[in-house]
């Protein structure tokens, strides 16, 4: 008779406790099992293509000390949970926790070697920090804005009507009053930024040209909840998220599409944590349009003659799917690339760090609002990498990435134009 196998006593080693709520116990489990292997600091070595672009973590690259890395945050979590440190022991704890773009680079690299959810750990830590010491002054305007206006830009709700009106002029349905299969969820940043507004109009035009039955919520659209989620205001996230799911379910839509990577990742993945369940499919506009490209429904009229490179927004890529241990960290990687390749005259050249091992733009996790110097430093790193490809333009599809990369590019010797995927598409139509 075969000898009985000696297996680990703790069942969490036999199977990662994916379904259990993310509480202190789970946080400790992840932190405790950090082996200081440093994969959280570097691009997965199988994908390292040069010494120059081998780093994955903007925070660790910028601030150097190991405390500012995934490993360091695990050490911090363990010290806090085990009572060796308190949140107010050291003012630098704030920087360690919040000078992080929550890009998920470390999280993705870590998932190559173990089952863990570092980003969820950080979110839990941020939330505990806020519970103990209150929100960060750097995030005050953002929080006030959310509370007052349900958006992150301190803009009155009615301001959304400025673009909503443009869309209505195009004959786009108002889903507050009408029915459609598809909701175009615009998001606060595209919705309220004058600079980014044309993108929404371009998307609407493309959808319209292709006879997509879609509509918008206009000034009734509220924040998806991504910023509070990332900065640890979990109650606020739950408030916004729950309200949104209920509203979207009531609309009877089949599909929600959004051009914002932040909204996308939040609605598609993070909403799964909320008690109310979604009754619709969530797609990034790039995924939706990719289907049209595949069906040869997009008829380009112009050739653009441009060499471009694609920047993978974190929340559209590695953080754009729910985590299943052992399964691919899928995301919207191929769709935008296929769209780019479909545009006449476009040559796509890749940066070294792409897809699930892409370098962050620097704009996430509250850094864009709270820690501009760091956010823009991170952006400059990305722009330099883009420049090294020989591309004329960096293309992306996330308002945070676009804004932060543009801000980061100011003052750089070598300019790199940053454009939105759908604007480029429209230019060829």
């Amino acid at each position: 008779m075969a000898k009985e196998m000696l297996l680990p006593k703790d069942p969490r080693y036999l199977r990662y406790p994916l379904e259990t709520p993310f509480d202190k116990e789970k946080a400790r489990w992840i932190a405790f099992n950090c082996s200081r292997c440093s994969v959280c600091k570097w691009v997965n070595s199988w994908q390292v293509k040069s010494a120059r672009y081998a780093r994955i973590c903007p925070q660790h690259t910028r601030y150097l000390y190991d405390s500012h890395s995934g490993q360091g945050k695990c050490d911090l979590a363990l010290a806090i949970i085990d009572g060796k440190m308190k949140w107010d022991d050291d003012p630098e704890i704030k920087d360690i926790l919040f000078r992080c773009t929550m890009c998920g680079g470390c999280d993705a690299m870590d998932k190559n070697i173990r089952d863990a959810e570092l980003i969820k750990l950080y979110r839990w830590m941020r939330s505990e920090y806020i519970k103990a010491l209150g929100p960060l002054p750097e995030h005050k305007s953002l929080i006030d804005s959310l509370k007052q206006y349900d958006n992150v830009w301190l803009q009155p709700r009615a301001k959304r009507n400025s673009w909503a009106q443009d869309l209505k002029n195009l004959g786009i349905k108002d889903l507050n009053n009408e029915k459609a299969d598809v909701l175009l969820f615009v998001g606060c940043t595209y919705g309220l930024s004058q600079e980014l507004k044309p993108t929404i109009l371009n998307i609407a035009k493309i959808l319209k040209q292709n006879k997509v039955d879609f509509g918008i919520l206009g000034d009734k659209e509220i924040c998806c909840g991504s910023p509070p989620d990332k900065i640890g205001l979990l109650d606020e996230f739950e408030r916004l998220g729950t309200a949104n799911i209920k509203r979207f379910n009531e609309l009877g839509i089949k599909t929600l599409i959004t051009p914002c990577a932040g909204c996308y990742g939040t609605i598609r993945v993070e909403y799964d944590e909320l008690p109310v369940k979604k009754q619709f499919e969530v797609l990034h506009v790039a995924e939706y349009l990719d289907r049209l490209v595949a069906d040869k429904k997009i008829n380009y009229k112009k050739e653009l003659n441009l060499t471009v490179t694609w920047h993978d927004p974190c929340h559209m890529g590695r953080m754009g799917r729910p985590y299943v241990p052992g399964k691919d960290l899928e995301g919207v990687y191929d769709e935008p690339r296929r769209i780019l390749k479909s545009i006449p005259g476009i040559e796509l050249v890749e940066m070294e760090r792409i897809r699930e091992y892409a370098w962050c733009c620097g704009g996430g996790g509250g850094a864009f609002t709270g820690f501009k110097d760091f956010a823009q430093w991170t952006a400059r790193e990305r722009l330099t990498e883009a420049k090294d490809t020989g591309a004329d333009v960096l293309i992306t599809s996330c308002p945070w990435c676009e804004s932060n990369l543009r801000a980061g590019g100011i003052g750089m010797d070598e300019k790199m134009e940053v454009r939105n995927l759908f604007d480029l598409m429209m230019q060829a139509l």
Binding site: C37, S50, A51, L64, I93, I113, D115
Partner: protein
């Protein structure tokens, strides 16, 4: 809190100011949130409460700043630990209060890659993966470290470094060329051709007696002999592509090496002796780039993409029933595709003569593309932590292949004796062939649950076993990884106590370089 805070102490402030003057205020930290990130490790010290946070973390840039930092440590007689990526070591965590961590985060330059003469000059932060990427671009190769490619390449060369391609290209100790090195006493030592010209590190030996001897040893000097700030390392000819041919998405990545230049075989034998005989024959025939008899656990450690997958496959015995006593051979066509064809014919002759059988095709297909090829680039050793939070080793020794067999056989007995807390592992017996079979390396690794009680229990057992071995005049190889305490015990037995203590005393008169490693001269 304030009363206990060592930072309020005058001496602390004095040292802090000295460091600040040496490296700039932003490059030295003493706050709890920073130092808290510098005393954990995958191995037991932190888990068992044997390590404490350092008092300072200092980030010098370059040799001169490192020298200044080390001189300050000497002035104030404070211990320091030089760290690379600071993973995979028992001895990189402070074991006493008041320690200074010298972190190399500002030393990440590749000073030079001399493509023609096949070497690179690097600083300590440069990882094996970074160096490898630059080497590939030039048709060169650094070898696959047995740890992870996120490790510092300098530290990887100083440490054990029994990398697989060492079979053909030389064990890590042979890959070190010129070194620029701040000794524990703060003097800058340049070895090999650096001793003549600090810009030119192409040659490692001398002049005269070779002081590189101080740096290594079976498991390195454990930071006990100062800090290397610049090293020239060999690069080797490589017949593969200019970028690593990987595809897929984490964690399911597959690499495909050109079939006309690389070919894996995994050949199974009825006994360990059969497997070793096969390895000898390959070495004698002067073929192959990698020859490894991995233990069953390695196959699944490196292969499994989740804990569930690991333990499910383990319980199905997918690997235990197929790869026991199997030898992994990778043929490399350095010269041409015809070399590969030639080596295939020779290998197949040997397989036939020695009665080897290829493992089941489905297991080969399951394993090789996902694991074996990627192993050439990075073993991702940290995956060894997956199934139970950590792993430990019980014996390892390099001598001949034959000795490796005897060695792991003894290892089996100990594993049996210590299970539990050692978890199921199917007789862990890693045997590597090196230098075309001149050397054999045997190691006994196994998973053990990362629980203080289990690890503590096992650590005590392992220490008792090591002690017993040493008393019997047997160097079981795991000992050197413990650094000082081991050398204290083993040095009188193997007759190097006077020498090692003498050297330590001579170059580390204040006993500040990671005490008690690599030996305490006064004990």
């Amino acid at each position: 809190m304030a009363k206990k805070d060592i930072r309020n102490n005058d001496r602390h402030q004095q040292i802090l100011q000295a460091f600040q003057a040496a490296v700039g205020p932003e490059n030295v930290k003493d706050n709890p949130a920073t130092v808290n990130a510098y005393y954990g490790d995958w191995l037991p010290p932190k888990l068992l409460g044997m390590s404490v946070p350092p008092e300072f973390v200092v980030l010098p840039n370059g040799t001169l700043e490192t020298q200044a930092v080390i001189k300050i440590c000497n002035r104030y007689k404070v211990p320091f630990i030089p760290v690379g990526s600071n993973q995979w070591s028992l001895t990189g965590s402070p074991n006493r209060q008041g320690t200074v961590i010298i972190d190399c985060k500002r030393m990440g330059k590749i000073h030079e890659i001399d493509e023609k003469n096949m070497y690179a000059v690097i600083e300590p932060l440069v990882t094996l993966a970074q160096l490898q990427a630059e080497a590939y671009k030039r048709g060169l190769y650094i070898g696959s470290p047995e740890a992870s490619a996120t490790a510092s390449a300098i530290a990887g060369h100083c440490f054990q470094g029994m990398w697989g391609v060492g079979y053909r290209l030389g064990v890590a100790y042979r890959n070190i060329l010129g070194i620029e090195w701040v000794l524990p006493n703060g003097e800058i030592l340049r070895t090999g051709s650096f001793s003549l010209d600090a810009q030119n590190g192409f040659w490692g030996e001398g002049p005269g007696p070779d002081l590189r001897g101080m740096l290594r040893g079976y498991a390195g000097a454990m930071g006990g002999f100062g800090m290397v700030t610049k090293m020239a390392v060999k690069l080797h000819p490589y017949p593969g592509p200019k970028t690593w041919p990987v595809r897929g998405t984490i964690p399911n990545q597959i690499s495909e090496l050109p079939e006309d230049r690389f070919k894996w075989y995994i050949i199974k034998y009825d006994s360990l002796e059969g497997a070793i005989n096969f390895m000898y024959e390959i070495g004698k025939a002067e073929i192959a780039g990698v020859v490894q008899k991995w233990p069953t656990v390695y196959y699944i450690w490196w292969w499994a993409n989740s804990n569930e997958q690991y333990w499910t496959e383990w319980q199905k015995r997918t690997f235990q029933d197929n790869v026991k006593n199997a030898v992994g051979v990778c043929l490399w066509g350095f010269t041409s595709p015809k070399q590969l064809e030639y080596e295939k014919r020779v290998l197949e002759d040997i397989i036939k003569e020695t009665g080897g059988k290829p493992i089941k095709q489905e297991v080969f297909d399951l394993w090789v593309p996902r694991t074996a090829n990627n192993w050439i680039r990075d073993t991702h050793g940290s995956r060894m932590m997956r199934p139970s939070g950590t792993f430990l080793a019980l014996r390892l020794q390099t001598d001949t292949l034959k000795y490796a067999v005897d060695h792991v056989r003894q290892g089996y007995e100990w594993v049996e004796k210590f299970s539990p807390p050692i978890l199921d592992c199917d007789g862990p017996d890693w045997i590597g062939g090196y230098d075309f079979g001149h050397f054999g390396f045997g190691e006994t690794d196994f998973p053990v649950e990362k629980r203080a009680e289990d690890i503590g229990d096992l650590m005590n057992k392992l220490l008792a076993m090591t002690k017993e071995d040493v008393q019997n005049g047997l160097e079981n190889g795991i000992g050197p990884f413990l650094g000082g305490p081991y050398h204290q015990m083993a040095a009188p037995v193997f007759n190097y106590e006077h020498l090692l203590k003498g050297i330590k005393k001579a170059i580390d008169p204040n006993f500040v370089s990671n005490p008690p490693h690599n030996i305490d001269p006064n004990a």
